[in-house]
């Protein structure tokens, strides 16, 4: 009880006298806030990216790529292979008996960013007649779907937001042809919203792709039917293809990019945290120096060194904690909900939103408190060891 009284008294003396050390304390708060902002910026970017890609994908849609190609851009699938896949078991058939299947290809075109006016790569996807039926959550929000065989495209909402010149009714020159934007679609924020879609056959001819595709989509009768499809593909030597569920495909794509962002974010945040730590140590040593006479006076009165240790550590944790909170609020104000785009797989722009979650904020605050803990510990040791005769020093 007595030690508790002492600790409470010394902590309160210490915190009440913080305004006398305002600027130095403030600099520590700012440094820690900056560390937390940078860290959370990266983590929120990674989380937003993951959410965009994870939100994508159905488990009754299968995607087939050339074996070992990993990404769509590296994959090639020929027309006769698509016919073979159409005969596989487990695939949903339309009333006319034909399978629900779409051969797709993917070319890179240029777009101009609204924000910077700079050129960036965009994916133009050629999809088959059933392409739209092979996408869940697809809604045409403006205009209509393109007519098969025509130079018409529909564009994703995210893309329209970020890139200039793709508004409904615009004519755009892509590759060797001119295209007309006849519709805008949304897909619950999925990665497809960063794409342009046209008819596969027209894309093939205008981009001289012959009769080659890059991916094949099929609708499965059930999530389990994917095993039947896999067995069929494995047993057919002409199909050297890999089968993914759409969901699994995008999850795999996201984890690489998420790792990349996190791997860049943490080292930078830790480097900055070391800088903030040096600042915190400096601040807290100064704090101990400026309080030395008070601490020594308390020792004269019979107080132990431990309460001064605790109070110094607490001061450091409070400053760092405030920095952590300001840092998270800062990023919340600047970034959360903001839409941004980044270089996705295959060098195309993926539009996604930054998302800040309580779990991320917790990581930021923990880093801040760690800076406070280490930055306060050694000065706190010094506080506990202030020579008692310091009480006689002037000022």
């Amino acid at each position: 009880m007595r030690i508790l009284n002492q600790i409470i008294a010394v902590c309160s003396i210490n915190l009440k006298s913080l305004p006398q050390r305002f600027w130095l304390s403030f600099s520590t708060v700012v440094a820690v806030a900056m560390v937390v902002t940078v860290l959370l910026g990266f983590l929120a970017l990674a989380a937003g990216f993951k959410r965009t890609l994870d939100g994508t994908g159905s488990d009754t849609i299968a995607i087939l790529l050339r074996d070992g190609s990993q990404q769509e851009v590296n994959s090639v699938v020929m027309l006769d292979q698509i016919r073979l896949i159409g005969e596989a078991p487990g695939i949903v058939r339309k009333p006319d008996g034909n399978p629900l299947i779409s051969g797709e290809l993917y070319v890179i075109v240029d777009g101009v960013k609204r924000s910077t006016g700079l050129k960036a790569n965009l994916p133009l996807r050629g999809i088959g007649k059933d392409g739209a039926a092979l996408r869940d959550d697809l809604t045409i929000t403006q205009g209509r779907m393109f007519e098969p065989g025509s130079n018409e495209i529909v564009v994703g909402e995210g893309l329209v937001r970020e890139f200039a010149g793709f508004d409904l009714g615009s004519e755009v020159r892509l590759g060797t042809g001119t295209w007309k934007v006849v519709g805008v679609f949304s897909m619950k924020g999925s990665v497809f919203e960063s794409e342009l879609w046209g008819d596969a056959a027209v894309v093939q001819s205008l981009f001289r792709r012959g009769s080659s595709f890059q991916t094949v989509r099929v609708r499965l009768e059930s999530p389990e039917a994917i095993d039947q499809l896999r067995d069929y593909v494995a047993g057919e030597p002409r199909l050297k293809l890999e089968v993914f569920s759409e969901k699994g495909y995008f999850a795999g794509q996201s984890s690489n990019t998420v790792k990349l962002i996190q791997n860049a974010g943490w080292p930078l945040a830790i480097a900055m945290a070391l800088g903030a730590l040096a600042g915190a140590l400096n601040t807290m040593y100064s704090s101990v120096a400026s309080r030395a006479r008070e601490i020594a006076t308390l020792r004269c009165l019979g107080f132990g060194g431990f309460p001064s240790f605790v109070a110094t550590l607490l001061e450091s944790l409070v400053l760092a904690g405030i920095g952590g909170v300001i840092g998270s609020m800062g990023i919340f104000l600047f970034f959360d909900g903001f839409s941004t785009s980044t270089l996705g797989q295959g060098f195309t722009q993926i539009v996604f939103s930054v998302s800040l979650t309580p779990a991320l904020v917790k990581q930021g605050i923990i880093l801040a408190l760690l800076v406070g803990l280490i930055g306060g510990f050694f000065p706190a040791l010094r506080a506990a060891r202030v020579p008692i005769v310091t009480a006689y020093s002037q000022g």
Binding site: L301, G302, F303, V389, Y392
Partner: protein, 228 residues
């Protein structure tokens, strides 16, 4: 009268590099309970150093210090802290109040080291502030008070836990004559009415006159003068 505190064969040396500075050596002194002693002497003669030894905030290089039968020189740091809290009130030249605390909170500090409850602490703080004539200033902060008032708060803090001995280093060194006389009268009253043993270091012969005995410390030796 019985001896309250005594130093036998006391020595204090500081080692600076290869040099050893001896402040005093073979110093003997006995202070009776209820006495009011003034220690005078030239600057650097070791008055503060001696007071620190008697107050248990510094250790002698040699010799024994005995307080009411207890050997301070044989106590651990923790024991010394507890001993100071129970037996010594410190009064400093620059008051050494906590700027962040009001007068009452400053005075209460030594009581936080006792087992007294909040109500009893409050009562004792009020009494101590009354004794120094600052009851109505309880809520004021040090920066809102004059030097003399701050020193009176410091005296209230020194007596609140009812220690036997008060150690004062230049308690009026920073005050004008009139205020100094008020403070010194108050110390004299505490000595006469409450039986506090007071050891006061001062440069001021006027201040020394309030004491019963004046010791002159010079070149490590005492020269005693009985007050007029």
């Amino acid at each position: 009268m019985t001896a309250l505190i005594s130093i036998q064969g006391g020595a204090k040396r500081f080692v600076k590099g290869r040099e050893t500075i001896t402040i005093f050596d073979h110093l003997d002194m006995t202070i009776e309970a209820g006495d009011f002693i003034a220690i005078m002497g030239p600057s650097g003669s070791g008055k503060t150093t001696l007071l620190n030894l008697l107050g248990g905030i510094d250790r002698a290089t040699a010799g024994s210090i005995t307080f009411a039968g207890q050997r301070l020189d044989q106590m651990s740091e923790g024991q010394l802290s507890a001993w100071r809290a129970a037996n010594v009130g410190f009064i400093f030249q620059f008051y050494n109040l906590m700027p962040a605390l009001n007068a009452a909170r400053n005075v209460e500090l030594p009581l936080l080291l006792t087992s007294l409850g909040g109500g009893e602490r409050k009562r004792r703080v009020e009494t101590a502030l009354q004794i120094v004539g600052l009851a109505e200033r309880a809520k004021h902060f040090p920066r809102e008070m004059s030097g003399g008032q701050q020193q009176r708060v410091a005296i209230a803090r020194a007596i609140v836990a009812d220690p036997k001995m008060l150690l004062c280093d230049e308690p009026t060194g920073d005050l004008d004559r009139k205020t100094a006389d008020e403070i010194l009268s108050m110390l004299q009253l505490l000595n006469k009415e409450m039986g506090k043993t007071i050891i006061m270091v001062t440069h001021d012969p006027e201040a020394a006159r309030y004491a019963n005995r004046v010791l002159h410390l010079d070149k490590g030796r005492f020269v005693e003068q009985v007050a007029a």
